[in-house]
């Protein structure tokens, strides 16, 4: 079983082997709380601060894969493995069970392995400096492993951001809004119902003009009442063009806006209860 120790307790004996060592480095960030990343190193004298040593011998992977130490280091030190570790760091005990399940690419040719080995050795010599030689070696690793893991550009960029997470505090793992999808939250009011033309006129928040749409079976019945307030989601292209495309409205997104029965005074009173002076 893998064992883990706080770095303060790591002894020289822990480095007696020439096998790669795996560290989980923890960082207490003032806003983000704890962050963690996987560090793979063959260096006997390199112990990152605030780290846990994961004493994993390559035998965990040896049974299945025939790889050199350097290839294994390239894979385990890369973005996919790092993201895997972060995904499973809720508990260290749990993590050590998951760590041997880190996805290892199966599509590495002998030539790929040779390139990875050379690149890792080059990086080791450059001691993680940002020299052109080191950057070139890292590029080679990126190219081979991106292909081996079948990563598209956006996924790779996301994983790389996760890897850089600790050094760049602004990087967030929170889901960011995709501004191009049909997810634009907005609201409006039914301005008028023109039954003779089977049309409904809508006033929509942030639009200049009244929007006219046809009455269709999927339209909620309560929208046939002038003055009815609604919440909905549109593609942002509607907002950008300041015009609804009547053919592309999804009526399933339309909901009656709650709390419209309340007076403005009641709404303000309601809001006020959530803003109170913090305790001294």
């Amino acid at each position: 079983m893998p064992k883990h120790n706080k770095s303060e307790n790591i002894t020289e004996n822990d480095f007696s082997s020439q096998e790669p060592k795996f560290f989980l480095q923890y960082l207490q960030h003032e806003q983000w709380g704890k962050r963690v990343r996987l560090i793979v190193t063959p260096k006997e004298n390199y112990i990152p601060k605030n780290s846990y040593l994961i004493d994993l011998t390559r035998t965990l992977w040896n049974q299945t894969f025939n790889m050199t130490n350097e290839v294994l280091m390239a894979i385990l030190g890369w973005d996919v493995s790092n993201a895997w570790v972060i995904e499973h760091t809720k508990s260290l005990d749990v993590l050590t069970k998951f760590i041997q399940d880190i996805p290892i690419p199966h599509e590495l040719s002998e030539q790929d392995c040779q390139i990875l080995t050379n690149a890792v050795l080059t990086l080791e010599e450059a001691k993680q400096s940002m020299s052109p030689v080191a950057c070139h070696a890292q590029d080679k690793i990126d190219t081979i492993l991106r292909k081996a893991y079948h990563l598209d550009d956006s996924t790779f960029q996301r994983l790389r951001q996760v890897t850089q997470w600790m050094d760049k505090s602004y990087i967030t793992l929170d889901v960011q809004p995709d501004l191009n999808k049909t997810n634009w939250f907005t609201s409006g009011v039914v301005e008028n119902v023109v039954a003779a033309n089977s049309q409904v006129q809508l006033w929509v928040d942030e639009f200049d003009d009244i929007q006219t749409v046809h009455i269709v079976p999927s339209m909620p019945g309560w929208m046939l009442r002038p003055g009815a307030a609604f919440l909905t989601k549109f593609p942002r292209t509607f907002r950008r063009h300041r015009k609804i495309d009547p053919e592309n409205i999804d009526w399933a997104y339309f909901h009656s806006q709650p709390y419209m029965y309340m007076s403005e005074e009641e709404l303000l009173t309601g809001i006020s209860q959530y803003f109170v002076r913090p305790p001294q």
Binding site: Q31, F185, A229
Partner: protein
């Protein structure tokens, strides 16, 4: 202190101001009446952390699209409002709105008797607060009340007004007078964001703060009682080199008032940037709208500037104003030559000027 970028978005009559810290990709939004514009700008600036949204005061031309922004940007950490809504625990049974007299240009009447459309904005805000109770924070300028916003960007922000000490007296004033006033400081340069503060509220602000001198002044934007003498007083204390007025072409408040222009013109080395032109600049200003917009579109392609297509009745002048607070304030947008040319060609009756000292 890090460099801070301020964007006064061209959203017509009302305010949508965005404070960003380019080094940390953080942002704070101060008031929001155009969530689409705010989101576009946050995306352009590659903001990853919206640390907070501050509503300076609850007039519709400051909060109208706040709920839309909050719902469309789920990662926002805090919504902050000052204590201008009496807490029912302390003011049980008191008429909330009636205690604030209408302001002189009458825009609180719109607030007191809103059409269903404005009420919808408030209902959405109420719903958001219900769904996000822990994110609702009170802002006061009291020394013992910490700014409820996290992150590096919060260090650049100081709340100057209102204090709980002044609030009882301010209740005799207008709702505008309890606008949250913020001082934002970049590397060294600073900006004063005044909400809709009127002269009566300004006296309280001045009385509580010795350090109001700021390089950039967001002029409190309603005509109200800002006559020439009172504007002179404001400018003499703040001593800005740049004044920004967020204004809509079609506003019905006679804003900005001629007295304000007169006072501004007396100041040397001051650059005035109005987001939109009004009939005071060209009569009718609508006649210039289409040509001006074409100019803006060309310019935005040329220098990658941030341009929002304005509403039907709106004609940009400076458009969205973006200023970096470094050792000195640096106007990123609008391009000076472009802005100057635009004014001289399209706004023959303009009351403003461009001087080189602040560039």
């Amino acid at each position: 202190m890090p460099v801070i970028k301020l964007a006064f978005l061209d959203v017509g009559q009302g305010d949508t101001t965005i404070i960003t810290c380019p080094d940390t990709h953080e942002a704070i939004v101060v008031d929001c009446i155009d969530s689409n514009a705010a989101l576009d700008y946050l995306k352009k600036e590659q903001v990853t952390q919206l640390r907070g949204v501050i509503i300076t005061h609850l007039h519709a031309d400051h909060y109208k699209q706040t709920a839309n922004l909050l719902y469309n940007y789920e990662g926002c950490e805090v919504l902050a409002i000052t204590k201008h809504i009496p807490n029912p625990r302390y003011l049980k049974g008191e008429k909330i709105l009636k205690q604030w007299p209408a302001d002189r240009d009458g825009h609180s009447t719109e607030f007191e008797q809103p059409p269903v459309k404005n009420k919808g904005s408030l209902a959405k805000l109420y719903q958001w607060c219900q769904d996000n109770k822990k994110k609702c924070k009170l802002i006061l300028a009291d020394s013992n009340v910490l700014l409820p916003i996290q992150g590096n960007i919060a260090q650049s922000l100081k709340v100057l007004h209102p204090t709980s000490f002044d609030l009882p007296d301010l209740k005799r004033c207008e709702l505008n007078d309890i606008s949250i006033v913020l001082q934002v400081t970049g590397t060294r340069a600073s900006a004063l964001l005044t909400g809709d503060l009127e002269p009566s509220g300004w006296q309280y602000l001045k009385g509580q703060n010795d350090e109001l001198k700021s390089d950039v002044l967001k002029f409190p934007h309603h005509r109200g009682a800002w006559d020439e003498a009172k504007t002179d007083d404001l400018l003499s204390v703040v001593q800005p080199s740049i004044v920004v007025i967020s204004v809509g072409s079609n506003n019905r408040y006679d804003h900005p008032h001629t007295d304000v222009f007169d006072a501004l013109q007396k100041q040397r080395d001051l650059r005035l940037l109005c987001t939109q032109a009004t009939d005071k600049c060209q009569t009718p200003v609508q006649g210039e709208r289409d040509n001006v917009i074409v100019q803006f579109q060309k310019q935005s392609v040329k220098d990658n500037s941030f341009f929002l297509l304005p509403g039907k009745m709106q004609c940009p002048c400076a458009g969205s104003v973006i200023i970096e607070l470094r050792d000195t304030p640096v106007i990123i947008q609008p391009n000076t030559a472009f802005h100057e040319s635009l004014i001289s060609v399209h706004f023959k009756k303009h009351k403003c000027f461009i001087r080189t000292a602040a560039l």
